[in-house]
């Protein structure tokens, strides 16, 4: 690990002091620092900031402080009751030990990454801009099939943000000078384009202070994760679904996908196609076809396209069966 100065932030403005790297749970950052993929000169530890509460908002939603651990978020009775898709997604990710350390803000900031990003003997446009991408013609089983670029085909590995995307959650960001801006979780992460080194919209000095959930959406909440082993593995494909059915038709459908792209993937056209329609296999196939029309495999990951198709169909089938009795 490269030497660094360590400081503790006593206030948000200490943390937004531009140029320094913020550390919260540190489970991804320290791992990358050990490999010298991340090489901060200064670390600012924000764990003493007062960002550990889950509070009800005036609108009837919940404001989750940036330092609420993934464990505490998934265990919160209000999250379990009203935002089941989020509790399920968090519990699908990592291990008990990591969820106890990983925070709400830190989880959002985990790097979009692949094996070549981790292998410092290999070129990688994300780690070393302009050096090239070995994944495109290499071992790309876990890589993106949607929204990838010539420069990068890595996938966003998280689960929490996929559920937050389906829930229309927003990220609260404080910048240097104390200015606060609100960004939808769906717009927080970036597609790689020509600048895969930037995973998200944060600028140096930006501090995530909270994630806000809108009022409970009701309906059936599902998070289905398909992976290479039963637990503690990244998604090959995951689907977060919040679905309401009334009078035998989809009244409201929110879908977000993990494992497919450089960011949690949401396609409003698919949701529009389903809304107002009677659930059924032909409709589900039409939705999957629309979702995956532009999907492109790179060899080893070709299987993700039919896998995503089937996983979406399975989730919609389960949602429609449970939604009818809800």
């Amino acid at each position: 690990m490269k030497p660094f100065d360590y400081r503790r932030a006593e206030s948000p403005s200490d943390a937004t002091d531009a140029g320094a790297r913020i550390i919260a749970g540190g489970t991804n950052l320290l791992d990358l620092m050990k490999l010298e993929i991340e090489r901060p000169d200064t670390l600012i530890d924000i764990n003493r900031l007062d960002l550990k509460a889950i509070e009800e908002t005036e609108e009837g939603g919940l404001r989750i402080g940036a330092l609420v651990t993934n464990s505490d978020c998934a265990a919160d009775p209000r999250i379990r009751r009203d935002y089941g898709v989020l509790a399920r997604a968090i519990l699908a990710g990592a291990s008990g030990q990591l969820r106890n350390k990983a925070t709400t803000g830190g989880n959002l900031c985990q790097r979009t990454r692949c094996g070549y990003f981790y292998d410092t003997a290999m070129p990688c446009n994300k780690r070393d801009p302009g050096s090239g991408c070995q994944a495109k013609d290499g071992f790309n089983r876990i890589h993106a099939v949607l929204g990838a670029s010539e420069a990068c085909i890595a996938t966003y590995p998280g689960d929490m943000a996929v559920a937050m995307t389906a829930l229309d959650a927003t990220v609260e960001i404080e910048s240097k000078g104390g200015e606060t801006r609100i960004v939808p979780v769906a717009d927080f992460h970036r597609l790689p384009g020509d600048t895969p080194e930037r995973d998200n919209v944060l600028d140096p000095g930006d501090l995530i202070t909270a994630v806000t959930l809108p009022p409970p959406p009701g309906g059936v909440h599902l998070y289905r994760k398909v992976r290479d082993r039963a637990s503690y593995a990244f998604a090959l494909v995951s689907v977060a679904a919040v679905v309401t059915i009334a009078d035998g038709r989809f009244e409201r459908v929110a879908l977000a996908f993990g494992g497919l792209a450089h960011k949690p993937w949401r396609d409003p056209r698919v949701e529009e196609l389903l809304t107002g329609e009677e659930p059924g296999p032909a409709l589900f196939d039409e939705a999957a076809e629309m979702l995956l029309a532009d999907a492109e495999g790179h060899g080893h990951n070709d299987f993700k396209i039919p896998l995503a198709w089937r996983t979406l169909r399975a989730v919609l089938t389960e949602a429609s069966e449970r939604g009818d009795t809800a």
Binding site: M1, P3, F4, D5, Y6, I23, G26, T27, L30, D31, K34, L43, D45, N47, S71, A74, A75, R80, R81, G84, A87, R88, L91, A92, A94, S95, G96, Q97, L98, N100, K101, A230, S231, Y232
Partner: protein, 168 residues
């Protein structure tokens, strides 16, 4: 830099480079070698310790980040002649072969039982509201952050199941 670490009820003053992980502080600076270094990347769980009663990977955190917190390692859970219930159950059920992952397994299981008592659901729980019954599937899911390269998993689950039964 100086850090005050409270470990198994004793206070230790650590003067070390900020890069020192909690695991390296325990093993190399304080002589508490019960916590093991397996992967050093948070994937194997051999380094699991408890911070304020919660299980974490001590390899993925800096010692200087835990100034003033209560740290419990395997040395603090029990000792020869006075084993914790999980330590005794691992011996009885032969929940190991080489033993390298065992301290992490036992620290992890100690906190896992507390999480379940507090009603925390897991990925395999049918219901997010109910108090989860810790059957084999629940135990395996909740312990998935602890690998055993010898493959003693069935005996590890048996050991934990015994303690679940004793507490019921």
């Amino acid at each position: 830099m100086e850090t005050r670490l409270s470990i198994n009820g004793d206070t230790h003053m650590l003067d070390a480079d900020p890069r020192t992980t909690l695991l390296d502080a325990l093993r190399n600076h304080l002589g508490l070698t019960g916590s093991k270094k397996g992967c050093d990347h948070g994937q194997c769980g051999a380094c699991t310790v408890l911070i304020d009663g919660r299980r974490i990977n001590s390899c993925l955190t800096l010692a200087c980040m835990h100034d003033g917190q209560e740290i419990t390692t395997i040395e603090g859970l029990g000792e020869p002649g006075n084993l914790s219930p999980l330590q005794a159950a691992f011996v009885r059920h032969d929940g190991y072969q080489c033993g390298y992952c065992t301290p992490g397994q036992i620290c992890s299981a100690t906190a896992m039982l507390k999480e379940a008592e507090q009603g925390w659901p897991s990925y395999v729980s049918d219901d997010l509201d109910g108090a989860p019954a810790l059957d084999g599937e629940e135990i395996s899911e909740r312990m998935s952050g602890n690998l055993c390269r010898c493959g003693a998993y069935s005996n590890i689950v048996d050991a934990i199941t015994q303690v679940v039964g004793e507490r019921a």
